[in-house]
């Protein structure tokens, strides 16, 4: 008992010390307060419509702590605020678990459902169940080929093959000869399509390299080893923004001359594009995917509007180079690009 009490006392002392220290040394620039000021200045989150408060659920194949899906979620949440929607988000990177989460959303009798189809075969039955239950479904990000067959209203995302081809063309324009495609999410069909598309359009040689996306040091080490083993590689394409940074570090360590290019954006990528550490980025505008998905469900419920005429609504690919990076930098910082 006595030991417990001293433990509590020690904890109290530590807490007091932390609080004291934070009150003393204030910074007049940046930090949390600047962020709060900016947030206050931004639009006040109020709904712009007076439709009933519908509930929409979004179930994605994201792993824990994924930057890309964080932006999608942000877009969806802001659209939900505008459209007076109660927005539920859940995710799991295992197909079986994701299917169970969709089932849970159906059990909750939601008014609309947004699903990503990275593993389409696993989601087939449960999406069919949702449409049978009369829940409008919109698919986002991956699964453009299956979306219509599964009975979804619309698919919002980028066609991965087209995006890959855009990368291949851009690499040709930059006169690259041997490229490396880094896949960080094993089992993701969309990623395979990207690399295949890039390979198709690229005149040089292209190799795939699988890395463990949930383990950043491992990603860096794998790319490093590959660059050390093959000095003729002059372009590395990563499929996600956080991995571009790892590739840049790997390039430095390996003493390689390769140009690093990436899919997706984040604050680091935007600054790296500005100082030419990165060649180009291919953006698929995740914010738009989340925002439009919620908004289109709202339009369907309110006015039976369907966008896209039976074809996927494309949010990319958008090639971003050092020219455009400057104005995007502030948007990436607030986490919407």
């Amino acid at each position: 008992m006595a030991r417990v009490r001293t433990g509590v006392r020690a904890m109290g002392a530590v807490l007091a010390a932390v609080l004291g220290a934070s009150l003393v040394g204030c910074s007049s620039t940046g930090g949390k307060r600047a962020e709060e000021r900016a947030a206050r200045a931004a639009a006040e989150g109020r709904s712009a419509v007076n439709t009933p408060r519908w509930t929409f659920a979004m179930v994605t194949h994201s792993g824990d702590g994924d930057t890309f899906w964080d932006i999608v979620q942000r877009g969806a949440e802001q659209a939900a605020v505008k459209d007076n929607i109660k927005f539920l988000y859940s995710h799991n990177d295992e197909a079986q678990q994701q299917a169970q989460l969709v089932q849970a959303a159906i059990d909750q009798k939601v008014d609309g459902l947004i699903v990503s189809l990275a593993k389409p075969d696993a989601m087939k039955d449960v999406v069919a169940k949702a449409t049978r239950a009369g829940i409008p479904v919109i698919t986002v990000n991956s699964g453009s080929a299956e979306s219509k067959a599964f009975g979804a209203l619309t698919h919002i995302g980028q066609d991965e093959s087209i995006a890959g081809e855009a990368v291949g063309d851009e690499l040709n324009a930059r006169g690259r000869k041997k490229a490396l495609c880094i896949l960080h999410e094993q089992g993701n069909v969309g990623h395979e399509q990207r690399c295949a598309g890039a390979k198709k359009a690229f005149d040089g040689q292209m190799e795939n390299l699988y890395v463990e996306g949930t383990n950043m040091p491992d990603v860096q080490a794998s790319i490093e080893a590959k660059l050390q083993a093959d000095k003729s590689i002059d372009a590395v394409v990563t499929l996600g923004a956080p991995f571009a940074d790892a590739a840049v570090k790997a390039k430095r360590t390996a003493g390689s001359k390769a140009e690093i290019d990436t899919f997706d954006l984040n604050a680091k990528v935007a600054t790296a594009l500005q100082d030419k550490t990165l060649g180009f980025a291919v953006d698929q505008q995740p914010y738009l995917q989340g925002y439009e998905a919620v908004d289109l469900l709202w339009l369907y419920r309110y006015n039976r509007n369907v966008l896209g005429g039976g074809r996927p609504v494309l949010t990319g690919p958008q090639i971003i180079t050092s020219k455009d990076a400057a104005e995007l930098a502030e948007y990436t910082k607030r986490g919407t690009r």
Partner: protein, 351 residues
Amino acid sequence: MTTTEQPPAPAAGSDERLLHTSALRRLLGRPELGSVVGAAAVFIFFSIIADSFLRASSFGTVLYAASTIGIMAAPVALLMIGGEFDLSAGVLVTSSALVSSMFSYQMTANVWVGVFVSLLVTLAVGAFNGFMLTRTKLPSFIITLGTFLMLTGLNLGFTKLISGTVSTKSIADMEGFDSARKVFASQWTVGGVELKVTILWWAVLVAIATWILLRTRFGNWIFAVGGEADAARAVGVPVIRTKVGLYLGVAFAAWVSGQHLLFSFDVVQSGEGVGNELTYIIAAVIGGCLITGGYGSAIGSAIGAFIFGMTSKGIVYAEWNPDWFKFFLGAMLLLATLLNAWVRKRAEATK
């Protein structure tokens, strides 16, 4: 094990092993008693917190989630009572599904042929684990960690080599698929609740495991090798055979789970299954298995799986922020296990 279930022969004088104990006393001595209380607590908690949790259709979803864990948790519990671990159980499920699918597709064989070959391959992995363990005398933690990593690589490497992508090709249009789907991945609707066939598999496996544990000589061996392997060997328990048998049991359940994965989704992703082995172990531990072996039950593993299913889906029905999901999951599991330990202590004190 405290008592035998049979009423003892009255002639047996003052031998304490043959004392007649009351039914209540026997119930209180069961390893799974604490987890029953924990399950009730979790159930009541989510019934109050989440409106949609109590719907019949939601119950079908929770049961399904529990069954996918429970099928594996039962043999894993037996293995843990036998004093060993299996860290390769999670990816072995994926391996089993991959073998089945790719063999059928590549050989253009009836799907059942692939299912049978997959059973052989999966059992071979289980046998490998068991033999390595008994031959090398290394801890099972290390042996199965090696198997786990090797299987993860094999899953990916072979799938990529054979199919050219990271997932298998669809076998839905092949002969035998429909009958296999009926066996491994069908569902019935009972009064508006959708019940998946895995729930049946789960019940059967738990029943068999319980029967083995409490009613057979092999069951006694399991408790003996888990409690004190050297002493067990000294009194003539075949330690090697028992442990290999336990690993074969885990492999068999992995085969059932793998076939379910394949026939419910018809395409298998090669990178999945990593991390699930811990879920099975947690389910067994919540159900009253000791990490050190020699104590536990198969019914307890089922209740543990049920708690896990309720918690993981209940959090969704409660509409909590998914960022905190793992935190809540961990906290609930700790609380359930603590409650479990506390109940067991109270029960043992009344003996």
